[in-house]
Protein backbone atom coordinates (compact mmCIF):
# COMPACT_ATOMS: atom_id res chain seq x y z
CA UNK A 1 0.00 0.00 0.00
CA UNK A 2 2.71 2.40 1.02
CA UNK A 3 4.54 1.64 -2.22
CA UNK A 4 1.48 2.62 -4.21
CA UNK A 5 1.23 5.86 -2.24
CA UNK A 6 4.83 6.75 -3.09
CA UNK A 7 4.21 6.00 -6.75
CA UNK A 8 1.24 8.27 -6.62
CA UNK A 9 3.20 11.13 -5.07
CA UNK A 10 6.06 10.71 -7.54
CA UNK A 11 3.75 10.53 -10.51
CA UNK A 12 1.93 13.65 -9.35
CA UNK A 13 5.25 15.44 -8.94
CA UNK A 14 6.31 14.27 -12.38
CA UNK A 15 3.09 15.51 -13.79
CA UNK A 16 3.68 18.93 -12.22
CA UNK A 17 7.25 19.05 -13.39
CA UNK A 18 6.42 18.13 -16.93
CA UNK A 19 3.53 20.53 -16.95
CA UNK A 20 5.73 23.45 -15.96
CA UNK A 21 8.55 22.34 -18.21
CA UNK A 22 6.24 22.13 -21.17
CA UNK A 23 4.75 25.43 -20.25
CA UNK A 24 8.10 27.20 -20.15
CA UNK A 25 9.40 25.56 -23.27
CA UNK A 26 6.20 26.42 -24.96
CA UNK A 27 6.69 29.99 -23.92
CA UNK A 28 10.31 29.86 -24.85
CA UNK A 29 9.58 28.81 -28.37
CA UNK A 30 7.08 31.62 -28.57
CA UNK A 31 9.55 34.12 -27.09
CA UNK A 32 12.27 32.97 -29.40
CA UNK A 33 9.90 33.60 -32.21
CA UNK A 34 9.46 37.22 -31.19
CA UNK A 35 13.06 37.44 -30.06
CA UNK A 36 14.55 36.17 -33.27
CA UNK A 37 12.36 38.02 -35.67
CA UNK A 38 12.13 41.33 -33.81
CA UNK A 39 15.44 41.54 -32.05
CA UNK A 40 17.75 40.42 -34.80
CA UNK A 41 16.09 40.56 -38.17
CA UNK A 42 13.71 43.38 -37.42
CA UNK A 43 16.33 45.53 -35.75
CA UNK A 44 18.73 44.97 -38.62
CA UNK A 45 16.00 45.86 -41.06
CA UNK A 46 15.20 49.04 -39.18
CA UNK A 47 18.87 50.00 -38.96
CA UNK A 48 19.22 49.59 -42.71
CA UNK A 49 16.11 51.66 -43.23
CA UNK A 50 17.46 54.36 -40.91
CA UNK A 51 20.73 54.50 -42.77
CA UNK A 52 18.95 54.83 -46.09
CA UNK A 53 16.74 57.61 -44.74
CA UNK A 54 19.76 59.34 -43.23
CA UNK A 55 21.47 59.27 -46.62
CA UNK A 56 18.47 60.55 -48.50
CA UNK A 57 18.08 63.32 -45.93
CA UNK A 58 21.59 64.46 -46.67
CA UNK A 59 20.91 64.40 -50.40
CA UNK A 60 17.70 66.36 -49.92
CA UNK A 61 19.50 68.95 -47.81
CA UNK A 62 22.14 69.36 -50.48
CA UNK A 63 19.50 69.83 -53.15
CA UNK A 64 17.69 72.32 -50.97
CA UNK A 65 20.85 74.34 -50.46
CA UNK A 66 21.53 74.44 -54.20
CA UNK A 67 17.98 75.62 -54.88
CA UNK A 68 18.29 78.21 -52.13
CA UNK A 69 21.45 79.58 -53.75
CA UNK A 70 19.68 79.68 -57.11
CA UNK A 71 16.78 81.61 -55.62
CA UNK A 72 19.06 84.16 -54.03
CA UNK A 73 20.82 84.56 -57.40
CA UNK A 74 17.49 85.32 -59.04
CA UNK A 75 16.63 87.71 -56.25
CA UNK A 76 19.96 89.49 -56.64
CA UNK A 77 19.34 89.98 -60.35
CA UNK A 78 15.88 91.40 -59.73
CA UNK A 79 17.12 93.57 -56.89
CA UNK A 80 19.61 95.24 -59.19
CA UNK A 81 16.82 96.70 -61.28
CA UNK A 82 14.45 97.50 -58.47
CA UNK A 83 13.98 100.71 -56.54
CA UNK A 84 15.79 100.26 -53.21
CA UNK A 85 16.71 96.73 -54.29
CA UNK A 86 19.54 96.40 -51.83
CA UNK A 87 17.22 97.28 -48.97
CA UNK A 88 14.79 94.59 -50.09
CA UNK A 89 17.54 92.00 -50.21
CA UNK A 90 18.57 92.98 -46.71
CA UNK A 91 14.98 92.66 -45.52
CA UNK A 92 14.72 89.25 -47.14
CA UNK A 93 17.84 88.07 -45.34
CA UNK A 94 16.73 89.44 -41.98
CA UNK A 95 13.27 87.93 -42.24
CA UNK A 96 14.79 84.59 -43.26
CA UNK A 97 17.13 84.61 -40.29
CA UNK A 98 14.26 85.43 -37.94
CA UNK A 99 12.02 82.79 -39.50
CA UNK A 100 14.89 80.29 -39.32
CA UNK A 101 14.80 79.66 -43.07
CA UNK A 102 18.48 79.96 -43.79
CA UNK A 103 21.73 78.48 -42.46
CA UNK A 104 23.78 81.14 -40.72
CA UNK A 105 27.15 81.59 -39.11
CA UNK A 106 28.87 84.14 -36.93
CA UNK A 107 30.65 84.62 -33.61
CA UNK A 108 28.93 83.27 -30.52
CA UNK A 109 29.02 80.65 -27.82
CA UNK A 110 28.74 76.91 -27.40
CA UNK A 111 27.13 75.71 -24.20
CA UNK A 112 27.21 72.10 -23.11
CA UNK A 113 24.67 71.07 -20.52
CA UNK A 114 24.81 67.61 -19.02
CA UNK A 115 23.55 65.61 -16.06
CA UNK A 116 25.84 65.34 -13.08
CA UNK A 117 28.22 62.41 -13.29
CA UNK A 118 27.28 59.56 -10.95
CA UNK A 119 30.79 59.05 -9.63
CA UNK A 120 31.07 62.48 -8.03
CA UNK A 121 27.89 62.25 -5.97
CA UNK A 122 28.88 61.84 -2.32
CA UNK A 123 27.08 59.10 -0.38
CA UNK A 124 26.03 61.52 2.36
CA UNK A 125 24.49 64.12 0.08
CA UNK A 126 20.94 64.90 1.06
CA UNK A 127 19.54 65.78 -2.31
CA UNK A 128 17.14 64.04 -4.59
CA UNK A 129 18.46 62.54 -7.81
CA UNK A 130 16.17 64.89 -9.77
CA UNK A 131 18.41 67.76 -8.66
CA UNK A 132 21.22 66.26 -10.70
CA UNK A 133 19.60 65.98 -14.11
CA UNK A 134 18.86 68.52 -16.83
CA UNK A 135 15.15 69.36 -16.90
CA UNK A 136 13.11 70.89 -19.67
CA UNK A 137 12.62 73.98 -17.49
CA UNK A 138 16.41 74.37 -17.14
CA UNK A 139 16.82 74.28 -20.89
CA UNK A 140 13.99 76.80 -21.25
CA UNK A 141 15.75 79.15 -18.80
CA UNK A 142 19.13 78.84 -20.54
CA UNK A 143 17.57 79.62 -23.94
CA UNK A 144 15.64 82.54 -22.43
CA UNK A 145 18.82 83.96 -20.91
CA UNK A 146 20.62 83.68 -24.24
CA UNK A 147 17.79 85.63 -25.86
CA UNK A 148 17.96 88.25 -23.11
CA UNK A 149 21.72 88.49 -23.73
CA UNK A 150 21.02 89.42 -27.35
CA UNK A 151 21.41 86.11 -29.19
CA UNK A 152 20.50 86.54 -32.85
CA UNK A 153 19.94 82.84 -33.46
CA UNK A 154 19.94 79.73 -31.27
CA UNK A 155 20.11 76.00 -31.94
CA UNK A 156 19.83 73.04 -29.56
CA UNK A 157 21.53 69.86 -30.79
CA UNK A 158 21.23 71.22 -34.32
CA UNK A 159 17.56 72.18 -34.06
CA UNK A 160 16.94 75.86 -34.83
CA UNK A 161 14.88 77.60 -32.17
CA UNK A 162 11.97 79.61 -33.56
CA UNK A 163 9.38 81.82 -31.88
CA UNK A 164 6.98 78.89 -31.64
CA UNK A 165 9.50 76.27 -30.52
CA UNK A 166 8.53 74.48 -27.36
CA UNK A 167 10.83 72.74 -24.93
CA UNK A 168 8.99 70.08 -23.00
CA UNK A 169 9.51 66.96 -21.00
CA UNK A 170 9.06 63.62 -22.74
CA UNK A 171 9.91 61.23 -19.95
CA UNK A 172 13.64 60.53 -20.06
CA UNK A 173 14.05 62.76 -23.09
CA UNK A 174 13.36 66.42 -23.76
CA UNK A 175 11.33 67.50 -26.77
CA UNK A 176 12.69 70.47 -28.64
CA UNK A 177 10.96 72.34 -31.43
CA UNK A 178 8.42 70.43 -33.44
CA UNK A 179 9.02 66.89 -32.26
CA UNK A 180 12.72 66.32 -31.86
CA UNK A 181 13.62 64.28 -28.83
CA UNK A 182 16.97 64.52 -27.16
CA UNK A 183 18.73 63.05 -24.17
CA UNK A 184 21.63 64.85 -22.51
CA UNK A 185 24.19 66.17 -23.23
CA UNK A 186 22.58 69.22 -24.78
CA UNK A 187 24.79 71.24 -27.08
CA UNK A 188 23.46 74.76 -27.46
CA UNK A 189 24.80 77.17 -30.07
CA UNK A 190 24.03 80.86 -30.11
CA UNK A 191 25.19 83.60 -32.46
CA UNK A 192 25.79 87.05 -31.01
CA UNK A 193 28.40 89.03 -29.11
CA UNK A 194 30.40 86.22 -27.41
CA UNK A 195 31.30 88.37 -24.37
CA UNK A 196 27.72 89.51 -23.83
CA UNK A 197 26.34 85.97 -24.24
CA UNK A 198 28.88 84.31 -21.95
CA UNK A 199 28.83 87.22 -19.48
CA UNK A 200 25.07 87.02 -18.95
CA UNK A 201 25.46 83.75 -17.05
CA UNK A 202 27.60 85.52 -14.47
CA UNK A 203 24.59 87.57 -13.35
CA UNK A 204 23.56 86.74 -9.80
CA UNK A 205 20.10 85.54 -10.90
CA UNK A 206 21.33 83.29 -13.68
CA UNK A 207 20.31 79.63 -13.82
CA UNK A 208 24.02 78.92 -14.25
CA UNK A 209 24.66 79.25 -10.53
CA UNK A 210 21.82 76.92 -9.58
CA UNK A 211 22.78 74.18 -12.00
CA UNK A 212 26.49 74.32 -11.23
CA UNK A 213 25.68 74.32 -7.50
CA UNK A 214 24.11 70.91 -7.95
CA UNK A 215 27.15 69.77 -9.89
CA UNK A 216 25.62 69.61 -13.36
CA UNK A 217 27.98 70.13 -16.26
CA UNK A 218 27.52 73.64 -17.68
CA UNK A 219 30.36 74.73 -19.90
CA UNK A 220 30.39 77.94 -21.92
CA UNK A 221 32.87 78.37 -24.74
CA UNK A 222 33.23 81.58 -26.75
CA UNK A 223 33.77 80.89 -30.43
CA UNK A 224 34.78 83.04 -33.41
CA UNK A 225 32.50 81.12 -35.68
CA UNK A 226 29.37 79.16 -34.86
CA UNK A 227 27.18 77.56 -37.49
CA UNK A 228 23.47 77.17 -36.92
CA UNK A 229 21.42 75.22 -39.46
CA UNK A 230 18.06 76.32 -40.75
CA UNK A 231 14.78 74.95 -39.45
CA UNK A 232 13.93 71.82 -41.41
CA UNK A 233 10.32 71.27 -40.51
CA UNK A 234 7.26 72.67 -42.15
CA UNK A 235 5.59 75.78 -40.83
CA UNK A 236 2.08 76.36 -41.94
CA UNK A 237 -0.75 78.44 -40.61
CA UNK A 238 -4.04 76.63 -40.22
CA UNK A 239 -5.73 79.10 -37.91
CA UNK A 240 -3.81 82.34 -38.19
CA UNK A 241 -4.35 84.54 -41.24
CA UNK A 242 -2.61 87.80 -42.05
CA UNK A 243 -4.70 90.82 -41.18
CA UNK A 244 -5.93 92.52 -44.33
CA UNK A 245 -5.40 96.22 -44.10
CA UNK A 246 -8.28 98.17 -45.65
Amino acid sequence: MSLKKEYLVISIMCAFLSFFLVKTFGNQVYSYDIGESTSVKKIQELMNQLEKLENSKEELLERLQKLEAKISDHEAVIAENIYKGEEIQKQLFEARVLAGLTDIQGPGVEIILNDRKKDNIMPGEMYSITDFIVHDSDLLEVINELKAAGAEAIGINGVRILGNSRISCGGPTINVGDDQRFAPPFVIHAIGDPDALAGYFQRADSIYHILTFYGLEFSIKKLDNVRIPRYYGEVDFKYAKPVKED
Binding site: K23, K57, I88, E94, G100, T102, D103, G192, Y239
Partner: protein, 223 residues
Protein backbone atom coordinates in the same frame (compact mmCIF):
# COMPACT_ATOMS: atom_id res chain seq x y z
CA UNK B 1 12.03 22.33 -8.46
CA UNK B 2 9.84 22.33 -11.50
CA UNK B 3 8.27 25.56 -10.39
CA UNK B 4 11.61 27.22 -9.75
CA UNK B 5 12.99 26.09 -13.08
CA UNK B 6 9.97 27.32 -14.89
CA UNK B 7 10.02 30.67 -13.19
CA UNK B 8 13.68 31.09 -13.96
CA UNK B 9 13.31 30.31 -17.63
CA UNK B 10 10.38 32.60 -17.96
CA UNK B 11 12.13 35.53 -16.34
CA UNK B 12 15.17 35.27 -18.55
CA UNK B 13 13.04 35.13 -21.64
CA UNK B 14 10.92 38.09 -20.63
CA UNK B 15 13.88 40.41 -20.10
CA UNK B 16 15.38 39.55 -23.44
CA UNK B 17 12.07 39.97 -25.18
CA UNK B 18 11.17 43.35 -23.72
CA UNK B 19 14.58 44.87 -24.32
CA UNK B 20 14.51 43.98 -27.99
CA UNK B 21 10.91 45.10 -28.17
CA UNK B 22 11.86 48.46 -26.68
CA UNK B 23 14.75 48.82 -29.08
CA UNK B 24 12.48 47.98 -32.00
CA UNK B 25 9.93 50.56 -30.91
CA UNK B 26 12.66 53.15 -30.54
CA UNK B 27 14.04 52.45 -33.98
CA UNK B 28 10.57 52.46 -35.50
CA UNK B 29 9.97 55.89 -34.01
CA UNK B 30 13.26 57.16 -35.41
CA UNK B 31 12.38 55.82 -38.83
CA UNK B 32 8.98 57.49 -38.71
CA UNK B 33 10.55 60.78 -37.61
CA UNK B 34 13.10 60.73 -40.42
CA UNK B 35 10.41 59.84 -42.93
CA UNK B 36 8.43 62.87 -41.81
CA UNK B 37 11.48 65.11 -41.97
CA UNK B 38 12.34 63.92 -45.44
CA UNK B 39 8.78 64.46 -46.55
CA UNK B 40 8.92 68.02 -45.25
CA UNK B 41 12.19 68.55 -47.10
CA UNK B 42 10.70 67.20 -50.31
CA UNK B 43 7.75 69.57 -49.97
CA UNK B 44 10.16 72.42 -49.48
CA UNK B 45 12.20 71.37 -52.51
CA UNK B 46 9.08 71.28 -54.68
CA UNK B 47 8.18 74.75 -53.42
CA UNK B 48 11.63 76.09 -54.20
CA UNK B 49 11.59 74.52 -57.66
CA UNK B 50 8.24 76.10 -58.33
CA UNK B 51 9.56 79.49 -57.25
CA UNK B 52 12.62 79.14 -59.46
CA UNK B 53 10.50 78.33 -62.49
CA UNK B 54 8.38 81.35 -61.63
CA UNK B 55 11.50 83.47 -61.54
CA UNK B 56 12.59 82.05 -64.89
CA UNK B 57 9.30 82.61 -66.64
CA UNK B 58 9.12 86.14 -65.24
CA UNK B 59 12.69 86.99 -66.23
CA UNK B 60 11.60 88.98 -69.29
CA UNK B 61 8.87 90.78 -67.44
CA UNK B 62 10.13 93.33 -64.96
CA UNK B 63 6.80 93.96 -63.30
CA UNK B 64 6.23 90.25 -62.84
CA UNK B 65 9.66 89.65 -61.30
CA UNK B 66 9.26 92.55 -58.91
CA UNK B 67 5.94 91.15 -57.81
CA UNK B 68 7.55 87.78 -57.09
CA UNK B 69 10.17 89.26 -54.82
CA UNK B 70 7.63 91.30 -52.86
CA UNK B 71 5.38 88.27 -52.47
CA UNK B 72 8.30 86.22 -51.17
CA UNK B 73 9.23 88.95 -48.70
CA UNK B 74 5.65 89.05 -47.43
CA UNK B 75 5.54 85.28 -47.01
CA UNK B 76 8.74 85.15 -45.00
CA UNK B 77 7.77 88.16 -42.90
CA UNK B 78 4.62 86.30 -41.96
CA UNK B 79 6.65 83.29 -40.79
CA UNK B 80 9.06 85.53 -38.90
CA UNK B 81 6.31 87.33 -36.94
CA UNK B 82 6.60 90.63 -38.82
CA UNK B 83 2.96 90.69 -39.98
CA UNK B 84 -0.24 91.25 -37.96
CA UNK B 85 -2.19 87.99 -37.74
CA UNK B 86 -5.71 87.10 -36.71
CA UNK B 87 -7.69 83.96 -36.05
CA UNK B 88 -9.41 81.89 -33.36
CA UNK B 89 -7.62 81.08 -30.12
CA UNK B 90 -7.45 81.84 -26.42
CA UNK B 91 -6.85 84.89 -24.28
CA UNK B 92 -5.17 84.20 -20.95
CA UNK B 93 -5.08 86.87 -18.29
CA UNK B 94 -2.57 86.54 -15.48
CA UNK B 95 -2.84 88.71 -12.41
CA UNK B 96 -1.84 88.73 -8.76
CA UNK B 97 -4.18 87.13 -6.23
CA UNK B 98 -5.44 89.43 -3.52
CA UNK B 99 -5.90 88.11 -0.02
CA UNK B 100 -6.85 89.80 3.18
CA UNK B 101 -4.09 89.63 5.75
CA UNK B 102 -4.77 91.08 9.22
CA UNK B 103 -7.62 92.95 7.62
CA UNK B 104 -5.33 94.51 5.08
CA UNK B 105 -5.18 93.89 1.39
CA UNK B 106 -2.15 91.87 0.32
CA UNK B 107 -1.00 89.74 -2.59
CA UNK B 108 0.35 86.20 -2.39
CA UNK B 109 3.07 86.63 -4.96
CA UNK B 110 3.91 88.88 -7.85
CA UNK B 111 3.77 87.51 -11.40
CA UNK B 112 7.22 86.14 -12.18
CA UNK B 113 8.88 85.99 -15.58
CA UNK B 114 9.07 82.21 -15.50
CA UNK B 115 5.30 81.99 -14.95
CA UNK B 116 4.83 83.70 -18.30
CA UNK B 117 7.66 81.71 -19.88
CA UNK B 118 5.96 78.45 -18.89
CA UNK B 119 2.56 79.58 -20.17
CA UNK B 120 3.99 80.63 -23.52
CA UNK B 121 5.95 77.38 -23.80
CA UNK B 122 2.81 75.38 -23.03
CA UNK B 123 0.82 77.26 -25.67
CA UNK B 124 3.59 76.57 -28.19
CA UNK B 125 3.51 72.89 -27.28
CA UNK B 126 -0.24 72.93 -27.95
CA UNK B 127 0.36 74.24 -31.47
CA UNK B 128 -0.14 77.99 -31.10
CA UNK B 129 0.61 79.71 -34.41
CA UNK B 130 1.05 83.24 -33.11
CA UNK B 131 1.42 84.50 -29.53
CA UNK B 132 1.68 87.93 -27.96
CA UNK B 133 2.14 88.90 -24.32
CA UNK B 134 0.82 92.39 -23.60
CA UNK B 135 0.87 92.85 -27.36
CA UNK B 136 4.56 91.98 -27.61
CA UNK B 137 4.75 89.39 -30.36
CA UNK B 138 6.71 86.30 -29.40
CA UNK B 139 9.38 85.77 -32.06
CA UNK B 140 12.54 83.66 -32.22
CA UNK B 141 14.55 86.20 -30.23
CA UNK B 142 11.95 87.21 -27.62
CA UNK B 143 13.14 87.13 -24.03
CA UNK B 144 10.79 87.15 -21.03
CA UNK B 145 13.05 88.15 -18.21
CA UNK B 146 12.89 89.89 -14.85
CA UNK B 147 14.42 93.32 -14.29
CA UNK B 148 13.73 94.56 -10.80
CA UNK B 149 9.97 94.74 -10.31
CA UNK B 150 9.33 94.57 -14.01
CA UNK B 151 9.28 91.87 -16.63
CA UNK B 152 11.11 92.65 -19.83
CA UNK B 153 9.64 91.35 -23.10
CA UNK B 154 11.28 92.31 -26.41
CA UNK B 155 13.35 94.81 -24.37
CA UNK B 156 10.21 96.64 -23.14
CA UNK B 157 9.17 96.67 -19.48
CA UNK B 158 5.82 95.43 -18.18
CA UNK B 159 4.14 94.58 -14.90
CA UNK B 160 0.91 92.75 -13.95
CA UNK B 161 -1.73 92.30 -15.18
CA UNK B 162 -0.56 90.33 -18.18
CA UNK B 163 -2.63 89.32 -21.17
CA UNK B 164 -1.43 86.44 -23.34
CA UNK B 165 -3.12 86.08 -26.71
CA UNK B 166 -2.61 82.96 -28.77
CA UNK B 167 -4.05 81.99 -32.15
CA UNK B 168 -4.52 78.28 -32.79
CA UNK B 169 -7.09 75.56 -32.15
CA UNK B 170 -9.03 77.09 -29.20
CA UNK B 171 -10.03 73.73 -27.69
CA UNK B 172 -6.50 72.33 -27.82
CA UNK B 173 -4.96 75.48 -26.40
CA UNK B 174 -7.46 75.69 -23.57
CA UNK B 175 -7.20 71.98 -22.76
CA UNK B 176 -3.39 72.09 -22.67
CA UNK B 177 -3.42 74.87 -20.09
CA UNK B 178 -6.26 73.45 -18.03
CA UNK B 179 -4.76 69.97 -17.84
CA UNK B 180 -5.00 68.53 -14.34
CA UNK B 181 -1.67 69.32 -12.73
CA UNK B 182 -0.83 71.48 -15.74
CA UNK B 183 0.63 74.95 -15.83
CA UNK B 184 -2.58 76.85 -15.09
CA UNK B 185 -3.25 74.50 -12.18
CA UNK B 186 0.23 75.09 -10.78
CA UNK B 187 0.20 78.84 -11.18
CA UNK B 188 -3.42 79.08 -10.06
CA UNK B 189 -2.26 78.34 -6.53
CA UNK B 190 -0.84 81.85 -6.19
CA UNK B 191 -1.98 83.77 -9.26
CA UNK B 192 -5.31 84.69 -10.74
CA UNK B 193 -5.49 83.00 -14.12
CA UNK B 194 -8.38 83.31 -16.49
CA UNK B 195 -8.61 81.48 -19.81
CA UNK B 196 -11.23 82.28 -22.40
CA UNK B 197 -11.70 81.13 -25.97
CA UNK B 198 -12.32 83.68 -28.67
CA UNK B 199 -13.38 83.42 -32.28
CA UNK B 200 -11.14 86.12 -33.53
CA UNK B 201 -8.02 87.41 -31.89
CA UNK B 202 -5.68 89.93 -33.41
CA UNK B 203 -1.98 89.49 -32.75
CA UNK B 204 0.24 92.44 -33.63
CA UNK B 205 3.49 92.06 -35.50
CA UNK B 206 6.87 92.45 -33.83
CA UNK B 207 7.46 96.15 -33.46
CA UNK B 208 11.11 96.29 -32.48
CA UNK B 209 13.98 96.90 -34.80
CA UNK B 210 15.70 94.01 -36.49
CA UNK B 211 19.41 94.36 -36.51
CA UNK B 212 21.77 91.54 -37.25
CA UNK B 213 25.32 92.50 -36.32
CA UNK B 214 26.73 89.01 -35.99
CA UNK B 215 24.66 86.58 -38.02
CA UNK B 216 25.79 86.08 -41.60
CA UNK B 217 24.61 83.84 -44.40
CA UNK B 218 26.50 80.57 -44.53
CA UNK B 219 26.89 80.58 -48.29
CA UNK B 220 28.66 83.41 -50.05
CA UNK B 221 26.10 85.43 -51.93
CA UNK B 222 27.40 85.99 -55.38
CA UNK B 223 25.76 89.36 -55.67
Amino acid sequence: MGLALAAQFKNVQKVGGSVSLQRTQELTKQVQKLEQENEALETQIREYEKRISEFESAAQNEGQSNKLIYEELERIRMLAGLVDMEGPGVVVTVNVKHVSEWGEDAIIQNVRYDDLLKLVNELNAAGAEAIAVNNERIIATTEIRNAGDYIVINTNRYSAPFEIKAVGNPETLEAALKLLGGVADDLGAYLHINIRREENIRIPKYNGTLQYKFAQPLQENKS
